[in-house]
């Protein structure tokens, strides 16, 4: 019978799926890990970039300016502009040193210091100043506060220019009037995104690809280690089945398993994080399958070279973590420094993530992602060609 090897592979795959169905714990674990990863990253990097609970210490020595018998404090208007449309809260400190110790002990995130002449200087038409003390160990937070304070300064300067220019215009006779907006910002930039998306649209496809790599890596490993430890692999090898059929069956069941897993993850990110899948479904599925296939060989190699599941798990972590951080899953490759960027270029996951992201987010056609897909396929094929003979040799010299 010519079809026997293929039929045997199906028998093996079917048995694996029955076993999965019969072990509810494994079934639950199969979903818990990816769901946890997605939720974690989904909530850690929310779709709108905002900070909650930012707390700024204020040392306000501003003595104000007496206008028509009423004292005006420019510092107060400044602070309300900083707070505008945000959840920033302020705490007042009587001295700079007190505020500084609060910043050191982490009670506040930054200090704004107003000198006593803050209002009086600006009212008399001279540049005034304030001191902003930030915490450089938290760069994104530092940048956020810096932007808020600079914006407040710009708004204030726009107000001043507006008034000055109107006054100037009324004095200019027979000359073209100056538009105050021209003085504030001579070039108007209209920036628009190519699609409506957010950071989750960046990491979402990366994470899905990462999870399919994980599935591919651990698939054969855990399945075969279990068979080795239970001794069932011996019973299977004693029956008239070719090793190729056995391995094909194993891969097939893991592929089906991983696709179900991916489908659940995709559903989850659509429902929870409103991620949009713009690409061709077949192309996305093909890249996912290649992502799983690409790592089957590497996983098999690790299984073949290790004695038990625990050791292979350790080795797999060694493969997993560099891939997680270096393959452009969490941040663009452009952010990686020189040597690391070169390493990223030889990691196969980089290409998987790139291709999948292009298709999911930008609806890229096959013609533009096929080179990445080919790399994944070749990596998978070559590693299988290396791993299968080693696995067979190790199996033979076993017990």
């Amino acid at each position: 019978m010519v079809l026997k090897p293929l039929n045997d592979a199906f028998i093996v795959a079917k048995r694996d799926l029955i076993e999965l169905y019969r072990t509810p714990l494994r079934l639950v674990m199969m979903f818990i890990f990816p769901v946890l990863i997605i939720m974690l990253f989904g909530f850690m990097f929310p779709s709108t970039s905002s900070f909650n609970g930012v707390h700024i210490g204020v040392v306000n020595n501003d003595s104000g300016f007496n206008l028509n018998g009423q004292t005006v404090y420019l510092s107060n208007s400044f602070l309300s502009i900083v707070k505008y449309n945000s959840t920033i809260t302020f705490s007042n400190y009587s001295s700079f040193s007190k505020a500084e110790s609060a910043l050191r002990s982490g009670v506040i995130d930054s200090i704004i210091y107003f000198p006593s002449n803050f209002t009086s200087l600006s009212v008399s038409g001279k540049p005034t100043n304030l001191k902003l003390v930030t915490n450089p160990t938290s760069p994104t937070l530092e940048e956020y506060i810096d932007t808020k304070v600079s914006t407040a300064s710009t708004v204030l300067s726009a107000e001043i220019i507006n008034g000055t220019v109107s006054k100037l215009n009324s004095e200019l006779v027979g000359l073209p009037k100056i538009n105050p907006e021209f003085v504030i910002s001579p070039v108007v930039i209209s920036a628009e995104p190519i699609i409506s998306g957010n950071y989750f649209d960046f990491i979402g496809p990366g994470l899905i690809m990462l999870l399919s790599m994980m599935a591919g890596l651990t698939a054969l490993g855990s399945a075969l280690s279990r068979e080795k430890e239970d001794g069932t692999i011996t019973a299977v090898m004693l029956s008239p089945i070719r090793t190729g059929s056995f391995l094909t069956g194993k891969m097939l069941s893991q592929l089906i398993r991983s696709l179900i897993q991916s489908a659940v993850v995709v559903l989850l990110v659509i429902l929870l994080f409103h991620m949009s899948f713009n690409g061709n479904i077949l192309l996305m599925a093909a890249i996912l399958i290649l992502g799983i296939f690409g790592f089957l060989g590497l996983g098999l190699l690790v299984t073949a070279l290790t004695k038990d599941q625990e050791t292979s798990q350790l080795l797999l972590n060694l493969v997993f973590f560099p891939m997680l951080f270096l393959s452009g899953v969490l941040y663009p490759l452009q952010e990686l420094p020189g040597v690391i960027a070169d390493i990223a270029k030889v990691l196969p996951l980089t290409y998987g993530v790139q291709a999948f992201r292009q298709v999911v987010v930008f609806n890229a056609p096959l013609s533009s992602v096929w080179p990445s897909m080919l790399i994944l396929f070749l990596f998978g094929a070559v590693s299988l060609v290396i791993a299968v003979p080693i696995f067979l040799m190790k199996k033979g010299s076993g017990n």
Binding site: M1, K4, D8, I11, R15, I18, E19, R22, T23, D230, G231, T232, T234, A235, V236, M237, L238, S239, P240, I241, R242, G396, S397, N399
Partner: protein
């Protein structure tokens, strides 16, 4: 002349410098129960692994039912039934699912397979447990189920590697009876055991193996006779293998020696 079922000629298996099996030759006749005896690490399991096509010999030849164990590996597997020391069923699957899986690998047609499974479970008194996961079975039940499994493809030759180890006396006696039944139906059986009494009772002939060599091969009766009137098979065993304890395991002798 008797028909030869298992023919072994100068079979060797070497791991590095270690000769696990060293040029062993013997022939098992059709319908025989052939006992394979020897201390731990003597090379019995390696020998059986080669005959059952699990590992390839370093040199020499062997055939089972006229089929070469290397060139005709798939053919050999089709006609043999093997019980290894370890019980080899998938714990999460039910007894019936396990049998279905292994039976399908032998290419047995579905209805016929179902019939054989039902008969086998009945014969080994496991019918009422067929829908239970094998993981919940006692060792004795698993052994019986293992026997149902190997009988599915109606093999002509059986390799039984310590089939009664760790079982209670009732199960042991049940399994020994079944081994005789199988033999009476015309099958050849190659049996390894450390229980000399079992070997004596069951075997038509025994082969004694030590350090990878074949030390003796004859009927238990003849072997005992050579040692004297009241000799047991245990005396024969010690006569050939010596009394020195074998602390070295097979695995240890395979491992590279460090610092030596």
């Amino acid at each position: 002349m008797d028909e030869i079922t298992v023919d072994v000629k100068n079979l060797s298996k070497q791991y590095g410098n270690f000769k696990a099996v060293d040029s062993i030759s013997f022939a098992v006749k059709k319908g025989e129960i052939f006992g394979l005896l020897g201390p731990n690490g003597a090379g019995k399991t390696t020998l059986i692994s080669m005959l059952t096509t699990l590992i390839k010999p370093t040199s020499g030849h062997a055939s089972v039912l006229g089929k070469d164990i290397i060139k005709g590996a798939l053919e050999v597997r089709k006609s043999i039934g093997v019980i290894t020391e370890k019980v080899t069923m998938y714990p999460p699957l039910t007894a019936e699912e396990n049998l279905m899986f292994f039976g399908r690998l032998y290419g047995i047609e579905k209805n016929e397979l179902q019939k054989r499974i039902d008969e086998g479970l009945e014969e080994f008194q496991l019918s009422q447990f067929k829908n239970r996961p094998v993981g919940t079975f006692s060792l004795g039940m698993k052994r019986r189920l293992d026997l149902v499994r190997v009988l599915l493809n109606e093999p002509k030759v059986f390799f039984l590697d310590e089939p009664t180890v760790g079982l209670d006396p009732i199960t042991v006696s049940f399994i020994k009876k079944k081994i005789r039944d199988i033999n009476e139906r015309g099958s050849t059986i190659i049996l390894t055991t450390h229980i000399m009494q079992d070997a004596d009772e069951l075997s038509d002939r025994v082969a004694l193996i030590d350090h990878g060599h074949l030390m003796a091969c004859d009927t238990p009766k003849n072997l005992k006779k050579k040692l004297g009137k009241n000799a047991t098979l245990e005396n024969v065993f010690i006569h050939y293998a010596g009394e020195e304890l074998r602390d070295k395991t097979e695995k240890m002798s395979l491992a590279p020696r460090r610092g030596m």
